[in-house]
Assembly symmetry: C2
Homo-oligomer: 396 residues x 2
Amino acid sequence: MSITSFNPPVRTLMGPGPSDVHPRILAAMARPTIGHLDPLFVNMMDEMKVLLQYAFKTENALTLPVSAPGSAGMETCFVNLVEPGDKVIVCQNGVFGMRMTENVVRSGGVAIVVQDAWGQPVDPNKVEQAFKENPDARFLAFVQAETSTGAYSDAKTLTKLAHGHGALVIVDAVTSLGGSQLEVDAWGIDAIYSGSQKCLSCTPGLSPVSFGERAVEVIKNRKTKVQSWFLDMNLVMNYWGGGTKRAYHHTAPINALYGLHEALVMLQDEGLENSWTRHTNLHLALKAGFEALGLSFVVPEGSRLPQLNSVTIPEGVDDAQVRGTLLQRYNLEIGAGLGDLAGKIWRFGLMGHSATPKNVIFALAALESVLTELKAPINRGVALDAAQQVLLAKGY
Amino acid sequence: MSITSFNPPVRTLMGPGPSDVHPRILAAMARPTIGHLDPLFVNMMDEMKVLLQYAFKTENALTLPVSAPGSAGMETCFVNLVEPGDKVIVCQNGVFGMRMTENVVRSGGVAIVVQDAWGQPVDPNKVEQAFKENPDARFLAFVQAETSTGAYSDAKTLTKLAHGHGALVIVDAVTSLGGSQLEVDAWGIDAIYSGSQKCLSCTPGLSPVSFGERAVEVIKNRKTKVQSWFLDMNLVMNYWGGGTKRAYHHTAPINALYGLHEALVMLQDEGLENSWTRHTNLHLALKAGFEALGLSFVVPEGSRLPQLNSVTIPEGVDDAQVRGTLLQRYNLEIGAGLGDLAGKIWRFGLMGHSATPKNVIFALAALESVLTELKAPINRGVALDAAQQVLLAKGY
């Protein structure tokens, strides 16, 4: 056996995540490792909390990155809040709503599932109906930005609705944080989780979470122990807790945290609202290009995530062949459809550092060239100009 | 608010982990991020399995790094194997045995605790007795290398003993993997977990695990679902599974895996047994220095981990003052005692890339200088030569 160092190629990442990681963030990850109880590292953890509070628009004290990917952030919310027998209304309009249901069940809770078609946002009327039928529901769980389809649901309205029925909300913001409007305090979101590798443009592996006061009360007053020791916020909050006296829990992923810290400093320097606007503007440019090509969006206008653009694959075009060619010839990664949408849609991410004029124009050019080669039924020679017109109008 | 980039100092890490990370590994972490379903990344995952099988000395197909720190690796073993009501004999001779007990309880199991004093290895006679009193115990769990004390327990004997009673073993090898003899297949270890930031000298955040055939059978034939979705090996094995058809589970921490891959390539190039020998040799040099200073070891000879050297703090010496001075003046991190040993012992790590002649001689010099300044009762001017004699004898 003799395996050698792994030297990955330079891809352009326009799938559902990870997104392109800025060289500043990659460089941060390579800084010298120091101890996780080092006073300087502890100070960095304090800064991280402030930066995450900024990104979430919250003053929640319990705001920190879970030391594992977004799926673990999801699990953190459910295992800490849901106790055996608790009813949870779960909105399912894609893969991640289904995963939430799985988490409820494994936490011993009872999932009341509200279904919407994949590609559609969560329908508040159905949720209202579910609360009427289940007045004892303790939680409402939904995905603000459904990565499997690109649908954006109305977190503000859904949260208000849940609170009107005395329930707390658990929100998946994996793909929205940093890219779309999200106001944890103003909307009163009780528990939320995200991922590092989407609009924050960091490498995957960390999951920012935030818990409001009511959620913290629930966690502190559980009748049963949290089933996960690793994700037990009662323990984790003492590790990430304020002050100089920290209780050792686990060993934090030091260098990954360097990367997230740098990513959040960059977000702070750009300005959160500016980042939202950038994602929207570049989405509009990409959209203009797609529509000029003759491609149609999966999600209805008004509910589209700027950072995840799902379009229907033109008839007769082989999904895998197109994605394979884009990857091999142009080092461009785009996303496939999941579940029933596999082979039927492509998902173009415009997340974080991937959301640039360069990537919009490059992706359109690459896609047009490959579809032209395959004699696909598209409009040729018009997409780039359509996109450029939007870029110019938006001041790029 | 304006937070700037975090630029850590260059420390020498001689605590209980993380250990010094080699520049090759840091550089690997900064390589371009590619997609976690990219064919090149999938190929890298296959290489990672082979490299981990080499490090564990196993042919177990289910050998992979859990996408979270060692604590999550521990939890992975327990939540996948232990079902409600299962009896688990847990050996407690330090912090990590206690954490195992916590994991058994949270998995719904019944923990039969075998106690040994902190600093002592696990006593097989007590374990034998526990099996006699609990012939229905399904698992024996113990820590091969107890990081909180530096005690090395006899994994081969304990595994044989458990098998004689029809039980499977769950072994904590967080601090031993790559640094001390460990033979998963030859000893018949059923389930084992480790960490990336100890003798593999990678950054923290990943937990290599390996499950033998009998353990996999247990996982596949559970009566209940694994309580953790994120750590459910039935799902994770399809993500890390052989072949080109992988089922998406979570997003792997891409760049962290680049780092671990590089660390394992370096281990392969050095040779596993050579690495064990290096750890032993440098331990002997450090030990000669400590004994010349007049410091005594916490763990009896014969049960000492070469990579974690616990010594008693000389009378009248302030623990925090010494560690603080070493950190501030020399950028040298050493470990404090935990639990009842807090303030009473220091833990000097010699793990992975930290295990060098340079670090041995530097740590002794720094410690002697600070203890001299504090007028501590030590023998002066003899430690460096004592260490050097060992280094010379070992061919350094």
